[in-house]
């Protein structure tokens, strides 16, 4: 499969601040790639490098095999972008801003096609295009950028926390638009803090922390790195029998139930043992992305005195 985005050992320094510290990111054509990491971990900085707004201090970055800094204009013809914090021109209406961006991107050449797309998006996002930039709420400013991004088809969408200001209904609309784009063969890089969104939309994710990649792969692959929670009724099960369960972690017996966790790759070894014990009321909870997430965020949270409860 073609690689659309590839960074290797990407470093970005702002004076003494090391925003990116050897970041590796690989996004293949046609995938919706989740880009996760705690606040300040360098997601937006990576995106700015990929868009040629910032220049890497060292390491390499390529988008469609081209250099994002030197070939910025050429690349931007193929990219739709939604910033994390959308600011608009105070005295331009939302509709004018959308038209302006679309014209710059060359998306208005076919007037009828553009008008149809714009009005469909305006409708599904329930957006009022007649207000002036300064009077829009955060969510509505974000809609301007989203509509402008989707009104002109792009090969690659780079979206920096695009739903942080949207209400749940608009989030659903957004998910739909991403699905449309993916179905049309576009590649999407989606930075987000919303795990359900990532789980629903993304085929692969990259998790970064402090400017470094800590995990990358398909959701299925990453789930293997996490533990599955298992519990069943404690009645009639002896301590000795419990000791026979292989590869179990954090085993507890409380409120009439046995609980433990097991590495997701070891689950096939555990289930036959449970069958021989003839356990009742068995529940098996697959790992959530949240758990994965918290495991990587955990160290920072712990430093702040917050306990990562999902472990």
């Amino acid at each position: 499969m073609d690689t659309v985005i590839k960074t290797r050992n990407l470093v970005k320094r702002f004076g003494r601040v090391q925003a990116l510290d050897g970041l590796d990111l690989k996004v293949s054509a046609g995938e919706v790639h989740g880009f996760l990491g705690p606040n300040g971990s360098g997601k937006s900085t990576t995106i700015r490098v990929l868009l040629g707004l910032a220049r890497s201090s060292s390491g390499s970055a390529a988008v469609f095999g081209q250099d994002p800094w030197n070939d910025a204009v050429e690349l931007h013809r193929r990219i739709g972008y939604v910033p994390g914090d959308v600011n608009l021109w105070p005295n331009l209406s939302g509709g004018e801003a959308i038209d302006l961006i679309s014209r710059l991107r060359g998306g208005t050449a076919d007037k009828a096609y553009y008008a149809a797309r714009k009005s469909r998006l305006t409708e599904v996002f329930q957006f009022d295009p007649t207000k002036k930039g300064r009077t829009y709420s955060k969510g509505n400013r974000q809609k301007v950028a989203l509509i402008a991004a989707f009104a002109t088809p792009a090969e690659l969408y780079i979206l920096d926390e695009p739903t942080s200001g949207l209400d749940p209904i608009m989030e659903a609309v957004f998910n739909q638009e991403i699905a449309h784009a993916a179905a049309a063969g576009s590649t999407v890089l989606l930075s987000s803090h919303i795990l359900s969104e990532v789980e629903q939309l993304c085929s692969r994710v990259t998790i970064i922390r402090a400017g470094r990649t800590v995990e990358s792969g398909s959701l299925a692959e990453l789930r293997h790195l996490t533990r599955t929670e298992i519990s069943f009724a404690a009645e009639g099960i002896s301590q000795e029998q419990l000791a026979h369960i292989p590869a179990s972690h954090d085993l507890t017996v409380a409120a009439g139930r046995v609980r433990f966790s097991v590495g997701s790759d070891k689950i096939n070894a555990v289930l036959p043992v449970l069958a021989t014990l003839d356990v009742q009321g068995l529940t098996v909870n697959p790992p959530s992305l949240e758990e994965l997430f918290l495991r990587h965020y955990g160290e920072e949270l712990a430093a702040d005195g917050v306990k990562a409860t999902a472990r």
Binding site: A54, A72, L100, R103, T130
Partner: protein, 540 residues
């Protein structure tokens, strides 16, 4: 009461450097001007001579004040008071807008309005804060002149007049902030009012009636329409009459009543000039960085063009008066020539070129604001929306330079057109048309130097664009227009582009400085474009 003191402390803290610089700067100007005048015009006869020439010449009076005798301290007041009052006005209007409309724009005011401070308390706090700033300013000016060995009581009167002017414009600035939707608009309106007050009183001085001794002047009635004029009417060091300042206090009071009435009828963040619903689709011409920049800057450019046109109007109409004055007194020509650093033109040519040097300042300020707008687009994040589309960053940058050049030309052009028409309307010599356009063209290089140099600054030290931009204009005006008066050494005066503006006086005009400035402007712009190729977007 306690919320008020919290808000007051917050304002004092936020302004501590800015106000210190304003107040100390104005105080320093007062000290320096007192000592420089004492040195340069030490003897009474010399001062009397200057006053006689000034009275015979409207354009000098326009830029200075009301002659009130040859005493040293009264002479200092004549030379510098209107400028001090102008600065006090700017200090106060900027302060008013900074703590009202700008706060609402940023959303901070909403946070305060949600606290027990409610809606009027922040305004009351701004008012007290601004009032105290002006009291301190008045005190500093009084001390500065006393330290400069001027009469102590007269110095107190001067300080009071400066402070009263400032308070009056504080009163003007606060309602302006209620009317306008943006702090940029509010600043423009309020600062425009200060500028207008300066010009109106200038008109009063220029058209005043000379006393029998030739060294006193009674300003024309227009002076009574201007808060700066009221300050002059105190006649500090001569008649020392504080009553005209009651007019300043009265105007401030009227403005404040209006302010609180207005505020009772307005939502936080809203403006009295209600916004119209915008267009659903953009007009066909809004399609690129240049048309966008044009659309964003147009109101500002129009504002500066109005300033240019107003100054042109004065130039055109005054040239006729100067003609008459000159035929009555040949020494006038010499004075004007001294002011304009040489040249051999006629009185009216010289006068037009003096007035157009003011239009040149407006043009430079307008181009400065274009570069500042570019920086604001960068910090607001709107530039990012443009530069993540297929738009080259050098092209985006170049478009702003183009816009800045167009803005300069438009300001100068509106000055030249209005000057020509008004000269013809009052029955002046048709040659004034050519003089006006020549004078306008002469201003081009200095304004372009400002554009080029600030563009280079934007590329190299973007964080300083806004603060240094205005500072450079201020320093340039100070050195170019007041440097000689205040005895600033020549090398320092030569730093100001305005010092080098050619004086077009027919065939003998020396354009070489202008040509050099063009070269400098082009070189700065070229370097800026080259560096821009390698420059990241720097939102903070």
């Amino acid at each position: 009461m306690s919320t008020l003191s919290v808000l007051l402390r917050q304002r004092a803290r936020r302004d501590r450097w800015q106000l210190t610089i304003w107040i100390a700067g104005i105080g320093l100007l007062a000290v320096v001007s007192a000592s420089a005048v004492a040195q340069t015009y030490g003897d009474y006869a010399g001062r009397e001579n200057i006053l006689r020439l000034a009275i015979a010449n409207p354009s000098i009076l326009m830029l200075r004040g009301t002659p009130q005798g040859g005493r040293l301290d009264a002479f200092v007041f004549f030379e510098i008071f209107t400028f001090l009052a102008l600065l006090a006005g700017f200090m106060s209007t900027f302060l008013a807008v900074r703590h009202s409309r700008a706060e609402e724009e940023s959303g901070r005011a909403e946070m305060i309005a949600a606290t027990p401070a409610a809606r009027t308390t922040p305004t009351v706090a701004t008012l007290i804060h601004g009032f105290l700033a002006n009291v301190v300013l008045g005190g500093v000016v009084a001390l500065a002149f006393t330290a400069g060995r001027l009469d102590a009581y007269g110095s107190v009167v001067t300080g009071a007049a400066v402070a009263a002017t400032g308070v009056c414009f504080l009163g003007v600035g606060l309602p302006a902030a209620q009317f306008m939707r943006t702090s940029r608009g509010a600043n423009a309106v309020a600062a425009g009012a200060v500028g207008l007050a300066y010009v109106v009183r200038g008109l009063g001085d220029a058209l005043g009636r000379p006393g029998a001794d030739g060294i006193h002047l009674t300003p024309a009635w227009t002076s009574w329409l201007s808060p700066i004029g009221w300050g002059q009417q105190t006649g500090a060091y001569a008649s020392n009459n504080l009553t005209p300042l009651l007019l300043s206090a009265a105007l401030a009071a009227v403005c404040l009543v209006a302010l609180f009435l207005l505020q009772a009828h307005r939502d936080s963040g809203a403006s009295l000039l209600a916004g119209r619903a915008g267009r659903v689709n953009a007009r066909g011409d809004l399609s690129g960085p240049l048309t966008l920049a044009w659309r964003l800057q147009l109101p500002t450019i129009i504002g500066w063009c109005i300033g240019g046109a107003a100054t042109g109007l004065l130039a055109g109409t005054l040239s006729k008066l100067a003609e008459q004055a000159a035929s009555a007194d040949p020494t006038v020509t010499k004075v004007l020539r001294d002011m304009d650093q040489g040249g051999g033109g006629s009185v009216d040519q010289l006068l037009i070129s003096v007035m157009f040097s003011l239009v040149g300042v407006l043009a430079a300020a307008c181009s400065t604001q274009t570069v500042i707008r570019m920086r604001q687009e960068e910090t607001a994040g709107t530039a990012e929306l443009i530069l993540t589309a297929p738009v080259d960053r050098t092209r985006w940058f170049g478009d702003y330079l183009l816009l800045g050049t167009a803005a300069i030309v438009l300001v100068l052009f509106s000055g030249a057109v209005v000057s020509s028409l008004s000269a013809l309307a009052v029955g002046g010599d048709p040659a004034r048309v050519g003089d006006s356009f020549a004078a306008a063209v002469a201003q081009l290089p200095a304004a372009l130097v400002y554009l080029g140099v600030l563009a280079l600054l934007f590329v190299l030290l973007p964080g300083l664009t806004i603060s240094l931009g205005w500072t450079l204009v201020g320093i340039g005006v100070f050195l170019g227009f007041f440097g000689a008066l205040l005895g600033v050494p020549e090398w320092a005066r030569n730093l100001s582009p305005f010092t080098h503006t050619p004086v077009p006086v027919g065939g003998s005009t020396d354009w070489s400085d202008g040509a050099w400035m063009l070269v400098i402007a082009l070189a700065a712009a070229a370097v800026a474009v080259a560096v821009m190729r390698q420059r990241e977007l720097k939102p903070n």
